[in-house]
Amino acid sequence: MKLFLLALGLAWAQVAVPPLTGRVVDQTGTLTREQHAGLERTLQEFEARKGSQLAVLLVPTTAPEPIEQFALRVAEQWKIGRKKVDDGAILVVAKDDRALRIEVGYGLEGVLNDATAKRIVSDVIVPRFREGEFYVGINAGLDRMMRVIDGEPLPAPAKSQPGAQGETFQMLPVLLILALVGGSILRAVLGRFLGAAATGGVVGFVAWTLAGAIAMAALAGALAFFFTLMGGGAGRRYGGFPGMYGGGGTFGGGGASGRW
């Protein structure tokens, strides 16, 4: 019980892991909009070319945790890197702590090993950070990391396959969300039953125009009707579309830290 309370206390005291809103998450306001976008683009291109996911996180502090523990929690939550390939790496900077860490996924531990990561931290990034050149340091550090990872033969990045069939199926999640959102609005305006009926009708029509099959459209319409009828407070679930998803990569504490 005591241990449980202790764990609970620790959980409260910890800095929460920020949501993965992009490849670069800056909570300190250090990067300008152009710098942010530039880094984001570089990392996106790298993933498209090599398949490996990299991310950057800037926080004011990780206290009371050491940066190693915090970085691992970030890694476990974000799941950067492809599933099974585990080729993700995260650069975490705790600005007020004057500490940084490169957290390396299992799949990159061979090429971006501890010694290499440490060199990037202390020879490439730290000297720039000491001069207050945060963007330059991050940019140079990422650049070096990408060059190192380029030397590792990784599975080729998956190509998206556009096709008529694929597109319809890609539309499905969007349709579902539209139905949920639209349904809850209609329900609020027209009342429970009328709103559900309207949503069912709209979804059925959209499905009919998209898929062309009347039976499927009727089914979709009926489903939407019942979902809206039953749905309670579905309005809190969605919080905008994140521009980035972790691929399911795993981490085991590899990498290196440094201070400036």
């Binding site: 501890d114 990561a117 440490k118 060199r119 202390s122 504490g253």
Partner: protein
């Protein structure tokens, strides 16, 4: 014939409903978490000879420190670190103590290294030190994951109704890393080379 089928499916339902599968899964998770712990301890032990050699080249007179590290390394190596170690609390404690001793000896070695500026700037030493730091961190991670796995398992073994299943099939609670050991072993040999 038909009755035996019904009895069999009932048994299956009963077993899956009373935590047998959960116990099996949790047990397997402990095993894999434990082998990761062993793996990382082994990685640290493998670093020792190289590290000692490198420090020796610069700090010849620190004989006592080298002996301590080498002896601790030998003691760690002499313990058969099998996965079954987990089921034997006594051997587990002994293993823990040996690893703790090695951690202590290594941190002494790094403190000693502080006094030799030439050693500190040696590229080989810096790489080894980065590897040691990384390995200590991996050990901490592996240990935490093991602790969590054992907690999950022990809760299942103790709570109703899975405790009955555990009793019937002989699942016992497993030893975990204790807080005293945690403090002793958790001390990573950390030396800050960033400044000065």
């Amino acid at each position: 014939m038909r009755r035996s089928w019904i009895a069999l499916s009932l048994l299956v339902l009963l077993l899956s409903g009373c935590g047998y599968n959960t116990l099996q899964t949790a047990d397997e998770q402990i095993k894999s978490a434990w082998s990761e712990v062993l793996n990382q301890y082994q990685r640290r032990a493998d670093l020792v000879p190289n590290l000692v050699e490198t420090v020796k080249a610069f700090a010849t007179q620190e004989r006592e420190v080298f002996t301590r590290v080498t002896e601790a390394r030998a003691r760690v190596g002499s313990i058969q670190a099998t996965p079954e170690l987990v089921d034997n609390p006594e051997a587990f404690a002994k293993f823990q103590a040996a690893q703790g001793e090695l951690a202590g000896a290594l941190s002494r070695l790094l403190v000693v290294a502080e006094n030799y500026p030439q050693l500190k700037s040696d590229a080989n030493f810096r790489d080894l030190q980065a590897q040691l730091e990384g390995t200590e961190n991996r050990i901490a991670v592996a240990r935490n994951r093991y602790i969590k796995a054992v907690q999950d398992y022990n809760v299942t073994v103790r709570s109703f109704p899975s405790n009955l299943t555990a009793m019937v099939f002989g699942f016992k609670t497993k030893p975990n890393f204790t807080v005293e050991n945690e403090r002793e072993i958790g001390k990573a040999p950390k030396v800050d080379f960033g400044k000065k």
